[in-house]
């Protein structure tokens, strides 16, 4: 039997004319925290539904814990934990009742699962008699995670657990995932937040049913093909227009209080390009200019890999 927690091999799934997944392939190593990173419509939820045996692929195959997602569905269901994107608990049951229900469905009890869920359940216990529907967003999310873990699964599937969650709570959620990973659990997690990719061991970047890249986030970022500069100026909107008019521009995108400028050339070297851009901006009446070479991050890489979105709209129309 394969030691790999997950193998996805050329999985394709269509819904009428829409290709939700197009020849998707990747695999996971034991105790890996693996991210499916991409916007809505990338196919992440469809893939989770196939891996949890709720949908059958049109072609291709996948194994979870060495078990085939089509043939061995009952064996798979007993051994995976799944937290769907939408809140899926019983709002009229209390925190404890929800947890007890999910434990009993899997033929276990809260006490047997206690060690697994301890780090989160400690935070939930003060509210154990509250109706799940009356919990705050963050607490609902933690309860859903508990319910997905209470039967001590060997692999955990989390579909966009941090969507709509504020930046600080998101970070705390990822800290929790690190704890579970350290205990040996294999975790497949999806997100539309690019910054969360860096919290994963490896990621598959996805867009409209296609896998754009699979690797460690740092490796994907390092493959970015253009020299990259961070450019700062007082008038950012004007700076954007001016940089886009520069003859050697490949792309200019806002990143927080800076712009990332990438150059279409590779031969002059990034420091020479930075000097050129500085002197160009000096002729353009822009104040407060700072230009510095930077290392590309995963979001730079994603935008480069996804290409022009105009192409996608034409495909849709």
């Amino acid at each position: 039997m394969s030691a790999q927690p997950l193998v996805v091999d050329a999985v394709t799934k269509r819904f009428d004319a829409t290709v939700a997944l197009d020849q998707v392939s990747f695999d996971m190593r034991p105790a890996e925290l693996f991210g499916l990173v991409g916007p809505d419509g990338a196919g992440k939820t469809t893939l989770f539904r196939i891996l949890t045996t709720l949908l059958v692929p049109d072609s291709g195959s996948a194994t979870v814990l060495g078990l085939d997602v089509v043939k061995d569905l009952w064996a798979i269901r007993a051994r995976v934990g799944y937290m769907p994107g939408r809140f899926s608990l019983y709002p009229d049951l209390s925190v404890e009742e929800n947890l007890r229900f999910f434990a009993s469905v899997f033929g276990t009890s809260i006490d047997e699962g206690r060690e697994m869920i301890e780090p989160i359940y400690n935070q939930l216990e003060p509210f154990k008699d509250r109706r799940a529907g009356a919990l705050s967003g963050g607490m609902k999310q933690k309860l859903a995670l508990c319910c997905a873990l209470v039967h001590r699964p060997d692999i955990l599937f989390l579909d966009e657990p941090t969507t709509g969650v504020d930046a600080v709570s998101r970070r705390e959620f990822w800290d929790l995932l690190d704890t579970f990973k350290a205990s040996g659990l294999s975790i497949l997690v999806s997100t539309a937040y690019m910054d969360e990719a860096t919290r994963c061991d490896r990621v598959a970047l996805m867009q409209q049913g296609h896998v754009l890249a699979v690797d460690r986030p740092s490796v994907i970022a390092a493959r970015y093909p253009h020299p990259l500069l961070a450019v700062h100026a007082t008038e950012r909107h004007a700076l954007l227009r001016i940089l886009r008019s520069y003859p050697h521009v490949a792309s200019v995108y806002p990143f927080g209080d800076k712009l990332h400028y990438s150059d279409s050339r590779t031969d002059p070297g990034v420091d020479a390009i930075a000097a050129e851009v500085r002197s160009f901006l000096a002729t353009q009446n822009v104040s407060g200019v700072r230009v510095e070479p930077i290392a590309p991050n995963i979001e730079d890489a994603f935008m480069e890999l996804m290409g022009a979105p105009e192409k996608l709209i034409q495909a849709a129309a």
Binding site: P39, D40, G164, D166, A192, R236, D257, M306, A316
Partner: protein, 249 residues
Amino acid sequence: MSAAIDVHEMTRRFGNFTAVDAITFDVQRGEVFGFLGANGAGKTTAIKMLIGLLAPTSGRASVAGFDVATNAESVRRHIGYMSQRFSLYEDLTVRENITLYGGIYGLTDDEIRERGKALIGGLHLERAAGARVASLPLGWKQKLAFSVALLHRPAVVFLDEPTGGVDPITRRQFWEIIYDAAEGGTTILVTTHYLDEAEYCDRISIMVDGRIAAMGTPSEVKGRFGAASLDDVFTELVRPQAVAVAQHA
């Protein structure tokens, strides 16, 4: 001329829980104002009051010159609203959505035709005008929803997490159309969980437990907290204990 959004000591209680606690701020015409805060801080309750769906318990607020408590009907006629959850009718085509909303907003047939054409051209959606909205990628739906929310040329537009789940390029294009609208004099109040997007706002406020804990331009706010990024400011305001522990560790 008065501010486009003028809020004074606005408060909302539910039983003995104070969701919004005497907040005061204003937003000037043509300004892009980022309305930030943690989950449960009171942002949604505040926005519901500003768009005339929920009356303040005390304090007052006016939007586009109309009092939100006594003249909610006029407020709703002069604003646009979009969120990630509420946007367009998926089973109608792009053009049908424009016609429908134009009608709801009371535009004439000529206005709908003219503005619809400009809208479709501005978004380069000519080829997709007859396509069902459901068939468009999310980012395009959101750009379209924003443009439709501007169809009746409202004075103020409320955008509630307009870019959640949107790909990184389209997210940035979305902000360019926000800027274009603001340059045309439209006032924008926007919420987001992307703190890099908070940097794109003229001014921001950060709500904590129903109160406004920080307000100003992004650089003023960072300066006041001696922080390198808005992310650091946000963390310090939302989890002061965690920051104190980290600094002593």
